[in-house]
């Protein structure tokens, strides 16, 4: 199938070959082509060319990159919605609000003798406030968005032989870590990827936290402590068949600075009802053996990670670092605008701040030229002497 540029995805001439199914046929066709002088595309080369040729903008190109790397269905749809420009669209709406405000201010500046709407900075202030609320929400959505596109890291923590590896295996549904009855078997961090309620998750199993004299294990403990800082959620495991002891308390201490869930394991054995009050918060009883409580644990993991439930299916999540910092710099300009307004600075400075905010947002969605603003002025107001 021949697609002539610039109407193809990359805006270049493209030939697509559709053949009968089966890897063998595809390989044969490929081999023939390569013998004839073609080469295989590098990863992402088509999007790159589409971007270079101006076919897609930067935020779309990034969404495609995310799509390629999408780890779960949810993050797949997130990548898709961004691709379809939901991010661009939402930013566009905000940009439009700023642009409308700028349009008025520029009209007041450049056409002092025309009959324009009264200088009502109050109204402009209100729409800028509106934009600020949305942008702030977007920026704070970055963490949630990042979880979906990059995956959350979930640290399993607890004293030796509390059942970390068993839980990991139960969640994974297959034997990954070696399970023995000898405490400290898991000497190293074992990372596993899985999807929990649509959220891509990396489970990190650690050596138990205990003061050990074994040098190998000591190293593992240090790493586990370091990992706490960089993980999104800690699963603190306590042995449900034994009373809580000093070591458990010490482990809980470490968790306080992060998000955590307490998992009381071995629910199939005699449950220990004597759980101290401090452990009841965010508690979940599971049995890795019978599978009891695993579903509610999954639920709890998802709801704890995605704390802000206001981001529903259709809301815009920022998923890239670049977008976040861009939105942040736009916010900075708008705050400067509000300050300038409050300090009674004249229109010209207000315009400067709005222009800066627009150009910051333009880094995601493309520039607003001065001609765009003039165009707005001429279409909205009757100008002309």
């Amino acid at each position: 199938m021949y697609m002539a540029g610039p109407h193809s995805f990359t805006a270049e001439d493209v030939v697509e070959i559709h053949c009968h199914g089966g890897q063998h046929n595809v390989s044969l066709v490929l081999r023939t082509l390569i013998q004839a002088g073609a080469r295989l595309a590098q990863p992402g080369e088509f999007s790159y060319r589409a971007f270079l040729n101006g076919r897609i903008d930067l935020s779309q190109a990034e969404a495609i990159a995310d799509l390629i790397h999408a780890r779960s269905e949810k993050s797949h749809s997130l990548a898709l919605s961004q691709l379809e420009g939901q991010l661009s669209q939402s930013l566009y709406l905000n940009k439009k609000l700023i642009r409308d405000a700028l349009c008025l201010i520029e009209a007041w500046i450049d056409f002092p003798e025309e009959e324009l709407p009264q200088e009502d900075l109050f109204k402009i202030r209100r729409s800028v406030d509106e934009v600020l609320v949305i942008l702030n929400k977007m920026v704070s959505s970055y963490n949630t968005g990042r979880l979906y596109s990059e995956g959350a890291s979930l640290l399993l923590l607890g004293k030796p032989n509390v059942g970390k590896s068993s839980l990991m295996n139960a969640l994974l549904g297959e034997n990954r870590a070696i399970v023995t009855d000898i405490p400290g078997t898991t000497r190293d961090l074992l990372e596993e990827g899985l999807v929990i309620n649509g959220l891509p998750v990396r489970l990190v199993d650690t050596a138990g936290i205990s003061e050990s004299s074994d040098p190998i294990e000591k190293e593992g403990v240090v790493r586990a402590r370091n990992r706490i800082i960089s993980s999104d959620l800690i699963l603190l495991l306590i042995d449900g068949s034994k009373p809580v002891d000093e070591e458990d308390l010490a482990a809980l201490e470490i968790c306080y600075s992060s998000k955590y869930i307490i998992v009381s394991t071995k629910a199939d054995l005699d449950p220990q009802i004597d759980i101290p009050h401090s452990f009841k918060n965010n508690l979940c009883r599971v049995s890795s053996k019978t599978g009891e409580g695993l579903d509610s644990l999954r639920q709890l993991i998802q709801s704890t990670l995605v704390a802000d439930s206001s981001f529903g299916e259709n809301s815009v999540l920022l998923t890239s670092q670049r977008h976040q910092s861009t939105a942040n710099s736009a916010i900075k300009c708008l705050i400067r605008f509000v300050d300038a307004l409050d300090n009674g600075l004249s229109l010209e400075f207000l315009a400067t701040d709005l222009r800066d905010a627009l150009s910051a947002l333009g880094e995601i969605t493309g520039e607003t030229t001065t001609d765009d603003v003039l165009e707005d002025i001429f279409s909205r107001f009757c100008i002309g002497k």
């Binding site: 805006a11 040729n53 450049d110 009959e115 229109l347 010209e348 400075f349």
Partner: protein, 626 residues
């Protein structure tokens, strides 16, 4: 057979409008033997439309022209009948001066100045074609049968090339009401390979002063403090004339609506594109039907003239309809029209075919300035004329052209826009066109441009001395603000300035930063400030009060400097650069930008394309292709 004139000029300027006059004066003052050719000696520097100079962004241009050693500011000041400074409360960089000028006096003064210039010959003659040789332009041929030889020619044709005047459905050839069009020249340009387009503009009727009932109209008077445009005139006495404000009403709009079938614009007779910012009254009525009234300023055309210019009321409806709708307005019930309004279509040459120096890319030594480049406005024209005149003279002297950056002057913004943006309508300057607006102020035009004007040889000793004196005041004032302190013990001063409890002393500069403090309050505290002129004080105050904003703009200038300073070799073949889209290749090939910065401002050229281009450029430099 054409007859040679026998004298070869170094610079020939065609057309004596606002662009032509500046161009000729600049070239002659820079020592070139210069010829200024005009179709009629009676209409030098004529204001074809509004009898005023300046206004938003235009006032900035006049200050820049003045700082470079041009004539427009001096002429406007000398012939002013009203002065106003607009936007005084909207920010330091958007304050703009405007004068109403006496139209005939302005023309007469400019003619006198030109006639007095030693190296300059003013002659009547209509240029019909250009002589071009292997090394570029050789001279011009006139309709009268003369050939004037010259290796530098500046075309400033205004609305005259193939001009067509429309009044109602009647149309006839003309370059301005009552004057013939210039035929032949645009065909010659087309033959030389130039892309010629068509634009449209319009002007209102001129009304008879004694037929207007001014008692029923609101009066608008000038400012009490007359500052003027020129650096050489700071503040002067002026006997000012008032303007008046009148309004259209529903009946006016009704008359206009009922007669749209007689409008050349709405019946499709006019092909040229008019400016959006200067719509005719019929345009306003059609496009803004919800408006029940439109304002017009009635401006006197001069001290002795009876003609009154109703601004914002340009029209190309038939004269009887014009009379009818003007008479429907309060105060104009008995009005007599002295000249009807009209629309005019004219040829222009697509400005992407010129360089930022205003020399054409196709013909060496041929320069275009003013409306021929698709601009509108006396100030825009004069600014281009000045730059074209300077650069033609620089070419004679074997010097590189004077190029102004976007961060240096509105003139730089305009020339950059003209050479990179497609022309959809006549180009007019607005302050919002500049991304560095805070840096381009009326008050600092002298600081930005006087030394450049001095370098090219246009700034007189008198202006230079005055400039240096002001600079000295400024620098001393700056030092004083930094070094002089108000100590907490000076209780009276602290109380008078309402500085509150000072635990330690403050520099004057810190005090001035406070929004409620003006520099006038600090003048008594420093001898250096007492010695400063009001202009220097204004600059000092702006520099301190808005330092944060100004610094940020300088940072923005710095950020793009690497792009602006990266030249694009003319030999670059964009078609050969893989990774550029076809559209980008074509736009680049058409515009042939002079720098990477310019390329980045061409419509449709994406940041990705600039990235590709800069990578390619690095390789290209290493192994230049032949």
């Amino acid at each position: 057979m054409l007859v040679g004139y026998g004298k070869e000029y170094q610079v020939i300027v065609v057309g004596a409008g606002h662009a032509g006059c500046e161009a000729a004066l600049a070239a002659a003052r820079m020592g070139c033997s210069t010829l200024l050719l005009t179709m009629s000696l009676d209409v030098v520097a004529m204001m074809s439309c509004n009898p005023s100079v300046g206004g938003l962004a235009k006032g900035h241009l006049v200050h820049e022209i003045d700082a470079l050693g041009g004539e427009m500011g001096l002429s406007a000041d000398a012939t002013a009948i009203q002065f106003r400074r607009l936007n005084t409360r909207k920010g330091p960089a958007v304050r703009a001066s405007r004068v109403q000028s006496d139209r005939m006096a302005y023309s007469a003064r400019m003619k006198t100045v030109i006639e007095a210039e030693n190296m300059l010959d003013l002659k009547q003659g209509a240029v019909v074609s250009l002589e071009v040789g292997d090394n570029g332009i050789r001279g011009v041929n006139t309709r009268e049968g003369l050939f004037f030889a010259g290796l530098n020619v500046i075309l400033t044709t205004g609305t005259f090339m193939h001009g067509l005047i429309h009044i109602g459905l009647k149309n006839f050839s003309g370059g301005r009401a009552g004057e013939p069009a210039s035929e032949g020249l645009s065909d010659c340009l087309r033959d030389l390979g130039f892309k010629v387009g068509r634009l449209k503009t319009g002007t209102p009727a001129r009304l008879s002063r004694r037929s207007i009932d001014f008692d029923r109209l609101q009066q608008q008077v000038g400012d009490s403090l007359v500052r003027g445009f020129s650096f050489l005139n700071n503040g002067y006495e002026l006997n000012q004339l008032p303007c008046y404000i009148a309004n259209t009403n529903q009946q006016t709009h009704e008359i206009i609506r009922n007669n749209l079938h007689q409008s050349p614009l709405y019946t499709g007779v006019i092909e040229g594109v008019g400016p959006r910012y200067c719509p005719s009254i019929e345009d306003k009525v059609v496009r803004f039907p919800e408006r029940i009234s439109h304002q017009t300023f009635l401006e006197p055309e001069g001290r002795t003239s009876s003609e009154i210019y109703p601004s914002g009321m340009s029209t190309s409806l038939p004269p009887d309809v014009q009379l009818q709708f003007y008479r429907s307005m309060v105060g104009l019930e008995q009005v007599e029209i002295m000249r009807p309004g009209y629309a005019i279509e004219y040829d222009f040459v697509e400005p992407v075919q010129i360089k930022k120096s205003l020399e054409t890319k196709l013909v060496d030594g041929l320069f275009h300035a003013g409306q021929i480049n698709g601009t509108s406005g006396y100030e825009e024209a004069a600014a281009q004329g000045l730059i074209a005149g300077i650069n033609a003279a620089r070419r004679v002297q074997g010097q590189p052209p004077l190029m102004l950056g976007r961060e240096q002057a509105y003139i730089g913004v305009m020339l950059d826009d003209l050479t990179t943006q497609p022309t959809h309508e006549p180009y007019r300057m607005f302050t919002s066109r500049s991304e560095y607006r805070l840096l381009l102020r009326e008050d600092n035009a002298d600081q930005r441009l006087t030394s450049l004007g001095r370098d090219v040889g246009l700034v007189s000793d008198l202006r230079w001395q005055k400039f240096e004196a002001k600079q000295k005041e400024f620098i001393l004032g700056q030092t004083a603000l930094e070094q002089r302190r108000i100590s907490a013990s000076l209780k009276e001063v602290v109380a008078a300035l309402e500085l509150g409890d000072l635990s330690q002393g403050l520099s004057l500069r810190d005090v001035l930063r406070r929004p409620e403090i003006s520099i006038e309050q600090l003048v008594p505290l420093a001898e250096e400030l007492r010695k400063c002129s009001p202009e220097a004080l204004e600059q000092l105050e702006i520099a301190v009060k808005y330092e944060g904003y100004i610094q940020r703009q300088y940072q923005q200038v710095e950020r793009v400097r690497s792009l602006e300073e990266q030249p694009l070799p003319a030999a670059l073949d964009y078609m050969q650069i893989s990774g550029l889209s076809q559209e980008v290749k074509e736009r680049l090939g058409e515009v042939l930008p002079e720098t990477l910065g310019q390329a980045s401002r061409i419509q449709g050229v994406t940041p990705a394309a600039i990235a590709v281009l800069s990578v390619y450029l690095k390789r290209w430099k290493k192994e230049p292709k032949d």
